[in-house]
Amino acid sequence: MSTQQVARARRTSTSPARARTRSAGPPGEPRRIAYLYLLPAFLVYAAFLLYPLGRAVQISLYDWDGNTLATWAGLDNYAEVVTDPALRAAFGHALVLVFFYAVLPLVVGLGLASILNRARVRGLPFFRTVIFLPQVVAMVVIGVAWRRLYAPDGSVNDLLRAVGLDSLARGWLGDYTAALPAVGFIGTWFEIGLVTVLLLAGMGRIPGELYEAARLDGAGPVREFFAVTLPSVRGEIAVALTLTVIAALRTFDLVYITTRGGPGQSTSVPSFEVYNRAFQQGRVGSAAAVAVVLTLIIFVISFGITRVAEREGA
């Protein structure tokens, strides 16, 4: 059997189970009554999610300072999102953060997870905990801690100077080119744990026979990774990407704590702009417009990720 056949065999082996549940039809009560069961949850969802969302969309069409009567602004606030270079830059920064929050942790996480999975190291639960630990700490605490590490006489610079890289030492968060990657790197450090643990769980479920079969076919560790491991954890990758991409796009606390959007505007992000406009500047309509656009972007991207993962998985 070639490795491709192995993969195909694995896929078809799950399909009879799926077919069986389908042919039995939806179990339980008929549709109309089923909706009744959904009603309580839907009411809560509508009151705390749909209504505020609708209200935000509505406010975004007004020019409103938060307490006097609003004036109709039509799509002006949305036009501003597109035309204001500072706001456009904020969305651009969010996309850079996606690389640091999602892409980088995924690459590192895949490597880490397959090493931990293959090596069958002793004390695996310990390593898993250590890697996952950043996720447990509140983002505000992480921000404060990294702010110290990045300080002009902080540990990062001490380390660089200790190994003779004095020319690289700088006030990381105050440097126009280094600030955004520096903030992004905190995100990488934070998300690697989540991604690795998710992928480890996925890899743990891959039946050993698949690897055996691949090895009999003469596949090395690299071939094994691409032919067996990677396709098997596609679902976990989709989940990891969705979570991390959303985390990247809605970043607020980290920027608020570390740089407040500075130096200049070089680390401003949409969520920070929403807060700033709504609570500091009294431009609630404009804040709502930025929030709605951000919600749409997050929706489209995460919808895209799940669709791609589903189609290729089917």
């Binding site: 406010i59 609003a70 109709w72 968060l173 500075g262």
Partner: protein, 452 residues
């Protein structure tokens, strides 16, 4: 397609939600009383009957908490018929919740509202605050609080003009930005205390030549440089011109030779290495903490650091108003967050009596005792230590000589961001003084023209 019913349902829900909330935002908040109340006010709290006052404040840390706790206790003991229902929040929490509370039906009677346009200005515009002029006359506030202090909580009744007009709030404490000097290091370098702005600039050069860090500044948080620039500007630009710009009143201009000179001075300081290295990468707290441990000779900062620096540096530190170029001092300054009364309050007289109590002569003594900077009768107070004495004297002089000019970020709702980012650009030499001033002028003039 599997997802269609859910998509449809979500869309229907969204449309329904929009329809439910169809009236314009802000339409349910009636704009309070349109005309200011007139007539006699009652100033004897013991004759006001049984009253409950809801008070929202942000006096939650150290000396602030100590003073309000003591004053509330005294007030309750003296006037048992007035019950205080105190709600304390952090400054940020108060900032984000006050707007909603005031547009609701049961706002607090007395609360602290930030001086600037996004808070007090917008409350005045919405008719949510009681003008305090009648109470000021009845209690004689205008004798104890000079114009230079009252300007920070004065607005025109339509809320459009800041810095003049009716009084809408009364602060307990004052603030002024001056220079903390490490006396020991200054002496060691053989430099005498500068008396004029020129001498101050010369001393920067001397200190640098002797290998000292002349001026500590940590500007990672964006706002600290506003105080340094304000200090430099006050020695180059007429106070009235700064007030126009700072309060966002019409008729001012940023793009003047005097402002250019101020901005150029700051750039020169960067070029000559007078400021901390990596100035935009250093945090505000690490900067002043470093100064307290003996790093640097000067620190341009506000009186709010008095308690901490006094404790750590003892007699090595002093505080002075910026030595002036013209002979009459000028310094950036302002007030603590002023106390205001809701126009929906059922007991405005009792609320005013409470504000009068916590700003009275006796209250000022309590404030001084608890490490705060009392805003009125400052020079007459007993300071807690040597540095406190210098700070009280400096603020007293500033008020007496009408030397206070406003924080520059008061000017427009967006100015805090604009000037914070622009100063980082200026210090990092991403912008020339001319570009820096153009950025500020654009923010200022577009606000002034839309605020007619």
């Amino acid at each position: 397609m599997r997802s269609r019913p859910t998509t449809l349902l979500a869309a229907a829900g969204l449309i329904g939600a929009v329809a439910l909330s169809a009236c314009a935002p802000g339409s349910n908040s009636d704009s309070g009383k349109s005309s200011a109340p007139t007539g006699q006010v009652s100033t004897d709290p013991s004759k006001m009957g049984d009253v409950t006052l809801t008070v929202w404040d942000q006096e939650i840390r150290g000396g602030q908490k100590a003073q309000i706790t003591e004053l509330n206790k005294e007030f309750q003991a003296k006037y048992p018929n007035i019950k205080l229902d105190r709600v304390s929040r952090s400054t940020d929490d108060l900032n984000t919740t006050l707007k909603l509370a005031l547009s609701g039906n049961t706002p607090p009677d007395v609360f602290q509202a930030n001086n600037g346009r996004p808070q007090m200005g917008s409350f005045v515009k919405a008719g949510q605050l009681v003008p305090l002029d009648r109470y000021a006359d009845a209690y004689g506030w205008k004798d104890r609080y000079p114009e230079s202090v009252r300007q920070y909580s004065s607005y025109s009744t339509d809320g459009k003009t800041f810095g003049t007009g009716s009084l809408y709030g009364l602060p307990q404490v004052g603030e002024v930005v001056g220079i903390y000097v490490n006396k020991a290091k200054l002496q060691k370098a053989g430099v005498s205390m500068p008396q004029t702005w020129d001498q101050f600039q010369q001393s920067l050069a001397t200190l640098k030549a002797k290998g000292e860090l002349p001026l500590v500044l940590g500007n990672l948080d964006k706002w600290p440089a506003i105080h340094v620039f304000g200090t430099v500007q006050a020695q180059n630009v007429q106070p009235d011109a700064i007030r126009k710009l700072g309060f966002g009143q019409k008729g001012g201009s940023w793009t003047t030779p005097e402002n250019t000179k101020a901005a150029q001075t700051l750039v020169d300081w960067v070029d000559k290495g007078y400021l901390s290295k990596d100035v935009n990468g250093l945090g505000y707290d690490p900067a002043w903490q470093g100064f307290a441990k003996g790093k640097g000779v000067y620190l341009i900062a506000g009186t709010w650091l008095q308690a901490d620096l006094g404790k750590q540096m003892g007699n090595d530190v002093t505080f002075v108003l910026p030595p002036s170029a013209s002979g009459s001092p000028a310094a950036t300054g302002g007030t603590g967050i002023p106390w205001a009364i809701s126009s929906k309050s059922k007991h405005p007289d009792a609320a005013a009596a409470y504000i009068n109590f916590i700003t009275s002569k006796d209250a000022m003594a309590v404030l001084a005792k608890t490490d705060n900077l009392p805003i009125a009768d400052t020079a007459a107070q007993q300071a807690p230590n040597a540095l406190g004495k210098d700070v009280f004297a400096a603020f007293g002089t500033a008020v007496q000589k009408n030397a206070l000019v406003p924080y520059l970020d008061y000017a427009t709702p967006t100015m805090s961001d604009t000037i914070g980012a622009a100063l980082q650009d200026l210090l990092a030499k991403k912008a020339t003084p001319q570009q820096f001033l153009d950025t500020l002028e654009k923010d200022y003039s577009s606000f002034v023209s839309s605020n007619q």
